[in-house]
Symmetry: C2
Subunit: 409 residues, 2 copies
């Protein structure tokens, strides 16, 4: 947790409503040498359904492997999040720590281990110490319920502000609520979730259908953000539906309110994903990159991510330099269909280059003004087809180097 | 050209021998507001053969497109290199500038335009001004021959030192010489050459066979280096064989001396590629990453490049932090076959993690000492098969941000 809050942090922190069937508690497990809560425990009402999207890393943490397995039942009663230690690449001892959590929490709740979900975040390669797990859990079980903002703060590691989002949807004339808490500021890139994010709703949603809706929502949000192109071994997004609101169950898009719920879920994921970028390590600019007229949506997304991950583009934006040549470079290296002479590039709605060269009488003034702001829009028209994609990133600054050249110590 | 020379610059600059059939000249075309030579013109004896490897960027410069076309003849008489302006993404006006060069130089040498090779390097998006091209060429045509080091200095842009290499080979008991000059320090990544590099030899080599040997040499050298994962629109490596040394012509590996020549060419390419990394923008550490026991060589190279391109790995090395967890992360995100529990990782020959977790009684002292040096070795044993690859990169420091957040102005 840094002492300086990101300059891109939202001015307004939303007030999150209670979600019936969800109780948050926090405690000090002291996974690191710090005096803060670092263990989050969330109890979920019986019958809560769950869906999840997990890292595609080939070296995932044991927590991720467990969540993948447990998701098959579609039911959840508890969530444990450890901050300060990712417990990744820790061999058998890492697995034992996860097993201890499953055993203690399932005993406490008198439920199946498969109904317990676990995440850990922080340094890789150090096994989660079992004694701290045990002390932490015994303490959190008897802790008073805490607020959403306290839970959001407790899952933080290098984050500079707690990240929360909320929205609602109407199902059968009745309001259901969706809350999200999320952490992450570095090691952020598709695929997939690129951080830890948890979504809670009091709606009643069939687990398979929740999975379908969550996958759709993450593909346009969490999977469209990148801070540094680095994908974590622990990335996790889980969605829990307690069903405690007595609205009709959602089983498919044929059900009334399902479209509204999907829209709300997608909106919540987008809010959460943007919060992560707004806390990108060292970020001073929030950058939206929209690629249009590519050969396909998939091609557009690859091109957009090639731009978003280019250190030269990211440093140019940090330097408030309308260096569209670096955008051409990033388009060219994406390996996707491109015709240099059909390409158009704009900043903040002003077209800088069209059909392969700078526009006649190019006036840099409005572009420079746009780049001095902290919300940067880059648009790329490939001039080829109908494919489009939008991704979000932040600039690459001295702050990133400061944070990451001295993170572990 | 920076005022501070890279701390990784070689202490010893080699003395390059003359290559019979090659004459270098330089002049001031003043492509930028600077007082230095920025136009290099190299005359090649009649009968010189040529081979080349060019950027895979989908948005290449007109120079690259021209070189690709001209390579089909296999013959070369002249090379022009413009520094300070890449002439990329400049539409018809950029092509006209290339055409002017071809026309002037082919007239001057009384040869075909297809025997003239052209490269430009520097800012993208500004057409090479034809008046400066004309003045520059007229001036360079009458300039005195210059040294190899003057030519190497003239092709520089953000480079902090001129880059030269030399070697020799025995063909039929007689020595042939190979010289190389190269520029590049940012926008460096496969595929392919990732900078401008020119190789000259007095050996007599069939053009097709020269292409075969050059492709083999670049795949293990220029295509195994990365500074920032960004691939330039202008990347070019050209090899010229004047045949002025009266050794027997090399037409295939069956010819005596062909193996020796390939070895020398590969060595020269490696020297040149390493020089580029030693001038990586902001670099303070030269990093070698060797991946072994992967499923295939191709898989090993992808994993090695995933590590080499990871901002989190590169900043950890800058911070002299043996953060092998970030290496696991980079292995995991490569998308190649990996088994977390078979992975071993070492720094400077000391194994830090084996079979999925930190080694028993891990002593960080020798690793920390290694990381304080400026030559860092990272080894990754995948524990799967026989695939291996070695790539080179540098660390990511404040220097990179300084150079690139304010490059164009």
């Amino acid at each position: 947790m840094s002492e300086t809050i990101s300059p891109l942090a939202p001015a307004h922190i939303p007030e999150l409503p209670e979600i019936s069937g969800v109780i948050c508690r926090i405690a000090r497990a002291r996974y690191k040498e710090w005096d803060r809560c670092d263990l989050t425990y969330i109890e979920l009402a019986q019958g809560t359904t769950v869906a999840g999207v997990l890292t595609k890393s080939k070296c995932p943490s044991p927590e991720v492997e467990w969540c993948q397995q447990a998701l098959s039942t579609g039911l959840a009663r508890g969530l444990v999040v450890n901050a300060g230690n990712a417990n990744a690449f820790t061999g058998g001892r890492g697995k034992e720590a996860v097993q201890l959590i499953l055993s203690m929490v399932s005993n406490h709740l008198a439920c199946a281990e498969e109904e317990i979900f676990v995440s850990s975040t922080g340094v890789i390669g150090v096994p989660l110490p079992k004694d701290k797990v045990e002390t932490g859990l015994n303490s959190v079980f008897i802790a008073e319920p805490c607020s959403w903002s306290e839970a959001a703060a407790t899952i933080m590691t290098t984050d500079t502000f707690p990240k929360m989002a909320t929205t609602s949807a109407l199902i059968d004339g009745k309001t259901v609520y969706l809350n999200g808490i999320v952490k992450g500021s570095g090691m952020i890139a598709p695929d997939m979730a690129t951080m830890l994010g948890y979504i809670f709703t009091d709606a009643c949603v069939n687990a398979e259908f929740l999975q379908e809706m969550l996958s759709a929502a993450t593909s346009k949000s969490f999977n469209c953000i990148t801070v540094d192109s680095d994908t974590s071994t622990s990335d996790t997004v889980l969605a829990f539906a307690t069903g405690q609101n007595d609205t009709p169950a959602l089983n498919s898009f044929k059900d009334p309110g399902a479209d509204a719920f999907q829209a709300a879920l997608s909106d919540l994921c987008m809010q959460m994903a943007h919060l992560v970028i707004r806390d990108g390590e060292g970020a001073s600019k929030f950058i939206e990159i929209a690629v249009t007229a590519a050969e396909s949506d998939k091609s557009a997304k690859r091109i957009a991510l090639s731009i978003a991950n280019s250190p030269l583009v990211k440093t140019a934006i940090a330097g408030e330099d309308a260096n569209w040549g670096r955008i051409v470079m990033a388009v060219g290296k994406a390996g996707e269909p491109a015709d240099r002479d059909k390409l158009s590039i704009g900043f903040g709605g002003v077209t800088v280059a069209r059909d392969g060269l700078v526009v006649p009488d190019y006036d840099e003034t409005p572009v420079t003004t746009h780049l001095k702001g902290d919300e940067i829009d880059i648009s790329v028209d490939m001039g080829l087809g109908h494919g489009k994609a939008t991704v979000w990133t932040c600039d690459l600054t001295h702050g990133y180097i400061e944070i990451n050249a001295d993170y572990r110590s």
